[in-house]
Amino acid sequence: MPKFTLILMKDRFSIKFGGHSGQGINMLGGFLSKALRDLGYAIFAYREYPSIIKGGYASYKIDFSSSEIFSSSKKTDILVCISLGALDEYLPSVSKNGIVIHSVKDFQLSRENAKYIQENNIKIVFIDTSLITQEEQASLIMGNIVLLGVLWKIFNADLSILEKIVVDYFSKKEGTDIEAEKRCLKAGYNIEGINDLSIKDLPKIVSTKWNESIVLTGNHGIALGAIAAGCRAYYAYPMTPATSILEILGNTYQKTDIVVKQAESEITAIQMVMGSMYMGARAFTATSGGGFDLMTESISCSGTTEIPLVIVLGQRAGSGTGVPTWSGASDLAVALHSGHGEFPRCVLCASDPIDCFELIQDAFNISEKYQIPVILLTEKQIAESIFNISRLPSSRKIKRGIVQNGEKRYILTKSGISPRWLPKVGNKTYLTNSDEHNEYGISTEKEEDIVNMSEKRMRKIISLKREIPEPKYYGPKTPNIVFVGMGSTKNAVLDAMKISKKAVGYLHYKYIYPLSYGKIFKLSKKGVKLVLIENNQSSGFGRLIKEQSSFYISNTLNKFDGRPFFVDDILDYLKQ
């Protein structure tokens, strides 16, 4: 039997769990993510799952490294499967010299897969988990814990690290037999006949600081940022990939005292947000493309009434219902242009949980100070992937721009901002009007009023642009090639930069509109090759850059197959 040596993409290693939807794949992935972190690795985990409750196949892929990583690789070094469908589906994604561990009895390789396995020297190991669980007097479903034990043995890692995580998890769940879970984990770990699978080339653990790090999804970042920013109400209608914000804020509501409301529609949710924001509470909603479309009349209403509004738009793949549980970034145009008429707005875009945490706070500050709708874009890849970060930054200072009292609600000012005072007993009352109105809020049809009020509102964009930070440049001082992008594309490029020998940089946009484009000109003047990178077909961000700056970036790297950019996608492009 040949000795198995895995050939690694520099300092990265990956594991994929595959099974039916509903077989506990996410739980296994969660255990291993935390255990690897506690071992001292930085992890990144990515989920693929169908838009059904049971059946189909789902995966949880963990990439880990000795230093920070933000994206997945295409191939998998070790595949762990507990269902036949998943095994067939994911086998071709196993890397050369990789390992497959599975518990599928009487598994027959298809001719194609058999050829692939032979050509790539892939080792397949069957673990009879039904027999082992029987011996351990455990239920059949605990077979997945057996496999986890086997995997941990292959890493030759300390079992107590993993055991602690498993025990912690089940001790919070009522009605689980924790002792049986422990027995299954040990049985897997002590299994015989897998000695030749031990891996010598795991990434080196260079520092132990990662075991003090935190593991979060982007939606966790949004929820935590909103709590920190003094958000007191969350109104939403479920839609992937925004749904888990409702879960996080709901499950923590006893500690935060936030009002969490599952509204009867997206229109209800956004109107409730506007009602609460109008009164002076902080509130927001989150949705995906379809739900956002329903909200757009309210966005226009917010623009005219100058009621602050914060919306998180979690993007997913496709138009229509699209590919509901997969990733993409094709909703910039709707974020920029939704809503009838002309009114100012702000569009932000996150790339990871830290961005999510900070930008939702910025969204509240900008929305209240400028009294405009603010749309924060995320993607399924950001919202639901599990990121490992050393720590969250400190919270942003709350800036609201609220005054005690006033006379003219829509007073004409140079900045375009009419100081807002809250509806409260004793305060001067006013009419908040979605009709075009004069400075007092009274409906008007006079030419002068219409022009003055429209110009006043649009001046807020000029004022806002002055405080919008520049995009951030990552990379060497003298790059040959610089990717320009927003959202999760940053993560794959940053990971590729660590591997590629080329002088590659990335210009990352978080503040999308109003757009700051000076840095693009500077890079272009230096003769750097600029490449627009977008998780969509028609380069919406490139169109915005062109519209705002007249600068056209002709090189593009687009991907729109429902998958995010993998680190390999960037490396392949750089090879060209």
Binding site: H220, T252, Q271, G275, A281, A283, S395, I398, S434, I442
Partner: protein
């Protein structure tokens, strides 16, 4: 502090047709608020788009003229943020039963502590007389000389089918009674739905003040839903008054487990919060 009804007056000129029911509805609303001792700055009025919404500048208070059909969810958001304010959603039969009927249904189900005034003039008035689901059968309307093709909605039947906590019906021709009904609705802790039979001399002259007065019959409140239904279904008489109440239903906010021991309002709670305890729970 004593409140005078003139505090609710504004200088804006009326734009309603002569004889429009909205004049008396506003009178009744102002009177109710004054008699409850509410200052205009204690009141949030969330208006619909339509003839009723054009009254947004003709009454004092913190008024919002937002989107067609959405005055209820906006009012709910305002109420949840600050329960010290008296929140009233003011909407027509078009906005309430057509564009935003889901908000009425879920508002009743959720039992938010707000008051909803439904101006039922049996048509879309501001867009010059289109059919609504309360338009009389066979009545020629904008674009439909033979009347509506669809069936009707009886507001009372719809509301009573949803286990409401308060349903009343008033009449724009009797502002005194309407004012008392609105007062009861505001005082009721829950979702108070008040249908107002409204005169529209321009697009619904058939239902004139005289004809309606002949049909109106004042009634007493009941907590017997079958009795209330019987009154609502009566085709000869139009019963007005507080028709049905159920004080056993708790309002939405009182059902929020995490707000039970909170004395403050959401608007008083906007500040930076430490997230460390939440974060450690998530790890």
């Amino acid at each position: 502090m004593k409140v005078d009804i003139t505090q609710y007056d504004t200088n804006e000129k009326s734009t309603w047709c002569p004889g429009c029911g909205n004049f008396n509805i506003h009178l009744a609303l102002k009177k109710a608020l004054v008699e409850l001792g509410k200052q205009p700055s204690e009141v949030v009025l969330s208006f619909d788009i339509g003839c009723n919404g054009n009254g947004g500048d003709k009454i004092e208070g913190f008024r919002v003229k937002g989107l067609h059909g959405r005055s209820i969810p906006f009012a709910v958001g305002a109420h949840i943020a600050n329960r010290k304010m008296t929140v009233i959603a003011d909407i027509g039969d078009g906005g309430c039963l057509h564009e935003g009927v889901d908000h009425l249904i879920h508002g009743i189900r959720s039992n938010y502590d707000i008051t909803v005034l439904i101006h039922n003039n049996e048509n879309f008035g501001l867009t010059t007389g289109q059919i609504t689901s309360t338009t009389k059968e066979g009545k020629a309307m904008y674009g439909f000389p033979n009347g509506r093709t669809e069936g009707a909605i009886n507001i009372g039947e719809l509301v009573l089918s949803l286990n409401p906590s308060f349903f009343a019906r008033g009449f724009s021709g009797d502002p005194e009674q309407l004012s008392n009904i609105i007062k009861s609705g505001i005082k009721h802790k829950g979702f108070s739905v008040i249908e107002i039979v409204q005169i529209c001399p321009t697009y619904n002259p058939e239902s004139s003040l005289e004809i309606l007065k002949g049909k109106i019959s004042q009634t007493e409140s009941t907590n017997d839903i079958d009795l209330a239904r019987k009154k609502i279904k009566d085709t000869e008489k139009i019963y007005t008054g507080v028709i049905y109440t159920n004080s056993k239903l708790k309002d939405y906010y009182s059902n929020l487990e995490n707000r039970k021991n909170r004395k403050s309002e959401l608007v008083d709670e906007v500040k930076n919060y430490d997230i460390m305890n939440i974060l450690s729970d998530l790890q």
